[in-house]
C-alpha cells in the first residue's frame, strides 16, 4: 500500500473510531433511559438505585398474571396484575385492550404510579414475542388452544 493510501486509510479509520467511541459513550451515559419501560421489579426495588416516585409518569412492561384480569361489568374499566421475575404490580385501565392482550402475554402500559405497586394506565400496548407457529404446533408444544380474543376466557 503506498503512503498516500495508508494516510487516507488512517484518516477514514480514525473518523469512524472516534464517532463510534463518542456514540458508545453517549449510549452508556444515557444507559437505562433508553429503555422503553420499567419492569415490575424495577418499580418495587428501583432501577440503578432510583425508585420511581408516586405520581410519576412512567411505562411498565411485564407479563399479565394468569387469572388476574378483572373487568367491571358496567364499564370499560379493567385491572390486571403484571409480573416479571419477582413482585407483582397492579394496573388499572379504562378503554379497549389491543388484540394481542392475553393472560400470560407481555404488555407495555403507560400511566401514573398511584401507589407503591399500583398504576393507573392511559395506554396499554401488547408486546409480542418472537415465536411464530401454526395453531396445531402451538397446541402440541405448549398446550395453548387457539382462541380468538373475543372468545377468550376473561370476557
Amino acid at each position: 500500500m503506498n503512503p498516500r493510501r495508508k494516510q487516507r486509510l488512517m484518516a477514514v479509520g480514525g473518523i469512524v473510531v472516534v464517532v463510534a467511541g463518542a456514540i458508545s459513550l453517549m449510549l452508556y451515559a444515557l444507559g437505562q433511559n433508553i429503555d422503553l419501560f420499567y419492569t415490575p421489579s424495577e418499580i418495587v426495588q428501583g432501577k440503578s438505585g432510583q425508585k420511581p416516585q408516586i405520581g410519576q409518569r412512567l411505562r411498565i412492561g411485564g407479563m399479565v398474571v394468569e387469572g388476574s384480569v378483572r373487568r367491571d361489568p358496567d364499564s370499560l374499566a379493567v385491572s390486571f396484575d403484571l409480573v416479571d421475575t419477582g413482585p407483582i404490580v397492579t394496573v388499572s385501565y379504562q378503554g379497549i385492550l389491543p388484540d394481542l392482550f392475553r393472560e400470560g402475554q407481555g404488555i407495555v402500559a403507560t400511566g401514573h404510579l398511584v401507589g407503591e405497586t399500583q398504576i393507573e394506565a392511559q395506554e396499554v400496548l401488547a408486546k409480542h414475542d418472537e415465536e411464530y407457529m401454526p395453531p396445531e404446533v402451538a397446541e402440541a408444544m405448549k398446550g395453548i388452544k387457539h382462541v380468538k380474543p373475543s372468545e377468550s376466557s376473561y370476557n
Binding site: 493510501r5 487516507r8 486509510l9 477514514v12 473518523i15 469512524v16 464517532v19 463510534a20 456514540i23 449510549l27 437505562q32 433508553i34 429503555d35 422503553l36 419501560f37 419492569t39 412492561g61 385492550l97 389491543p98 388484540d99 394481542l100 392475553r102 402475554q105 407495555v108 395506554e123 396499554v124 400496548l125 401488547a126 408486546k127 409480542h128 414475542d129 418472537e130 415465536e131 411464530y132 407457529m133 401454526p134 395453531p135 396445531e136 404446533v137 402451538a138 397446541e139 395453548i144 387457539h146
Partner: protein, 250 residues
C-alpha cells in the same frame, strides 16, 4: 491477490459487468420472490396468536434485513472509494443509497401498519424503531450530501464519509432489542440459535429474503449503469457505445 478486480474499476468494464449480471439477477429475483410471496401469503399456515396478520413478516423482515445489508454494501463501496480513490466505487454509493432508503421506508411503514392492530399503536419511540428511523435519515443524508455539491467528486467524498460514520448505527439496530427493553420483539431468525419460527413459515420467509436481496442487487446494478452513463457521458467509450447502438437500430 486482488489484481483480478482492478480492471473493473474502469467505468466501461464495470458497465459491461453490470450488463452481464443484470438479467441473471433480474430473472432469478422475479422467480424466487414470486414463489416466496405466493407461498408465504397464500399457503403458509396462520400464526397461533396473530392469525393472518403475521404474514406482514414476508415483507417486513426481508426489507428490514436488506435495509441494513444494503447499508453495509454502500459503506464498503464508500470505504473503497475513499481509500483507493476509485470513482466507480463512489458511483456505486450514489446508486445504492436511494434503493436502501426505499427498503428502510418499507420496513418502517409495514412495521407501523402491523403495529396498529397488534401492539395497539402505529409508533412508539423504542430503541429498535428509533434506530431504524435514524437509518432512514442516514440514507437521506447521504443522498442529499451527494446531490448538494456541484462537483460530483467532492459530493462523493462528503457522502462517503457520512456513509462510513453511519455504520455505527448498524450494530445498534441489530442489538437494540437485546440491550434495552423494547416493544419490538427480539430476533427470530438473525441469531445463532435455532430460529423461533416454525419451518412451514420459515422456508417462504427465507425465499422472500433471498428474492428481495436479488431484486435489490438488480436495482443497484441498473442504477449504477445509469450513474456511469451520466457521469461519463463525455467520455469516448460512452459515445462509441451509443454510436454502435444507433447503427444496430438502423
Amino acid at each position: 491477490m486482488w489484481k483480478w478486480l482492478h480492471p473493473y474499476a474502469k467505468p466501461e468494464r464495470a458497465f459491461a459487468l453490470c450488463t452481464t449480471l443484470l438479467p441473471w439477477f433480474g430473472v432469478s429475483a422475479l422467480l424466487i420472490l414470486a414463489t416466496g410471496t405466493i407461498w408465504g401469503l397464500a399457503f403458509a399456515p396462520a400464526d397461533y396468536q396473530q392469525g393472518d396478520s403475521f404474514r406482514i413478516i414476508y415483507l417486513h423482515v426481508p426489507s428490514a434485513i436488506l435495509s441494513m445489508g444494503t447499508y453495509s454494501a454502500m459503506a464498503i463501496a464508500a470505504f473503497i472509494g475513499l481509500v483507493w480513490q476509485i470513482r466507480t466505487a463512489h458511483m456505486a454509493v450514489a446508486a445504492i443509497a436511494p434503493v436502501g432508503a426505499v427498503l428502510t421506508f418499507i420496513a418502517l411503514f409495514t412495521g407501523a401498519a402491523w403495529g396498529k392492530p397488534m401492539w395497539g399503536t402505529w409508533w412508539v419511540w423504542d430503541a429498535r424503531l428509533t434506530s431504524e428511523l435514524i437509518l432512514l435519515f442516514l440514507y437521506l443524508g447521504v443522498i442529499a450530501l451527494y446531490q448538494s455539491f456541484e462537483d460530483k467528486e467532492q459530493g462523493s467524498k462528503a457522502s462517503g464519509v457520512m456513509a462510513l460514520v453511519g455504520v455505527v448505527n448498524l450494530p445498534i439496530i441489530h442489538y437494540s432489542v437485546e440491550w434495552w427493553n423494547t416493544l419490538h420483539q427480539g430476533a427470530t431468525i438473525t441469531k445463532f440459535a435455532k430460529p423461533s419460527i416454525d419451518s412451514s413459515m420459515l422456508w417462504p420467509l427465507l425465499l422472500c429474503i433471498l428474492g428481495l436481496a436479488l431484486l435489490t442487487g438488480a436495482m443497484c446494478l441498473y442504477r449504477l449503469q445509469n450513474e456511469l452513463l451520466r457521469r461519463e457521458s463525455h467520455r469516448p467509450w460512452v459515445r462509441a457505445m451509443l454510436l454502435e447502438e444507433e447503427q444496430n437500430a438502423v
